[in-house]
């Protein structure tokens, strides 16, 4: 079965780049939110920005209930990192809310950008806010996880 990850990853990046909430916090010269894949983060980029860290796929949980739909289905775990150098957690929390508004139960927006797959749901899973003191600037590191389900058409 073909993995949906190669088509879901750019769709997620596109949805987030066009998120009004994220654009309101920060935007690039093209007026899109600064959202990058793991290897696409520009060298020396200053926060705030968002990184699509990983997408992992697995078959649906119960293979015994497999139907023609579940056989073509994959469940995905999406992990995003947000980085903020704002003094305090406000900006990091605003980024969390903007991402939540853009992704949670917004499968239609992702679906519209997919070819060869449908996205049947996209649901918020967890959020962590971690203070990062590995540099001389105090950073707020948000870790966002979402679960998605795709089915091959």
């Amino acid at each position: 079965m073909t993995s949906s990850i190669p088509v879901v990853r750019p769709a997620i990046i596109s949805v987030l780049k066009n998120s009004a909430g994220l654009i309101a916090i920060s935007h690039d010269s093209d007026n899109k939110a600064p959202v990058y894949s793991m290897r696409g983060v520009p060298q020396g980029l200053a926060p705030p920005y968002t990184v699509v860290r990983s997408l992992q796929s697995a078959p649906p949980l119960d293979p015994r209930s497999a139907s023609s739909f579940t056989l073509r289905a994959q469940e995905l775990l999406l992990t995003l990192d947000t980085w903020s150098s704002f003094d305090g957690p406000d900006e990091s929390e605003a980024m969390h809310k903007a991402i939540f508004d853009a992704l949670d139960e917004q499968e239609e927006n992702i679906q519209a950008l997919l070819t060869g797959f449908t996205c049947t749901w996209c649901l918020f899973d967890t959020n962590d806010q971690i203070e990062d003191e590995s540099t001389n600037i105090r950073l707020f590191h948000g870790v966002e996880r979402y679960r998605l389900r795709t089915e091959a058409i």
Binding site: L61, P63, D81, I130, S134
Partner: protein, 127 residues
């Protein structure tokens, strides 16, 4: 006006049997959860990063503090909430798990859950 009264004998026996059945059901569900938690913990320990003399730059370094610090905890407040928590209290665990600005993430706990999840339902059915 007439009244018909029916007396059902054995209601107390039925109630007692029902309660015993419920207790047995809860015990089996908890056994299933314990088994799933153990499977996930084993996988987490297998995947957990372990420091070496090379990675730390410390000659003779013996790692494994993070790997050996996994614990499982049930929900102690409500036995009807069938939950198990797999956690690691090492102070640097979350930095290793989700990375820092200078260090890539190594999410071994999330990967352990993701890799063992297909065993959850069969294990529950087996127990």
């Amino acid at each position: 006006m007439s009244r018909i009264t029916i007396r059902i004998r054995g209601a107390s026996d039925f109630k007692a049997a029902n309660q015993a059945f419920m207790q047995q059901l809860i015990a089996q569900a908890n056994a299933g959860l314990d088994s799933i938690a153990d499977i996930t913990k084993d996988e987490a320990q297998r995947l957990c990063p372990v420091g070496t003399p090379e990675s730390t730059g410390i000659k003779g370094y013996v790692g494994g503090t993070l790997r050996d610090a996994h614990e499982i905890m049930p929900d102690v407040e409500d036995t009807y909430r069938f939950i198990r928590y797999l956690y690691n209290d090492t102070y640097y665990a979350r930095w290793v798990h989700d990375g820092t600005y200078k260090m890539p993430a190594r999410p071994w706990l999330m990967n352990a859950v993701w890799r063992t999840r297909s065993q959850f339902l069969p294990e529950m059915m087996r127990v």
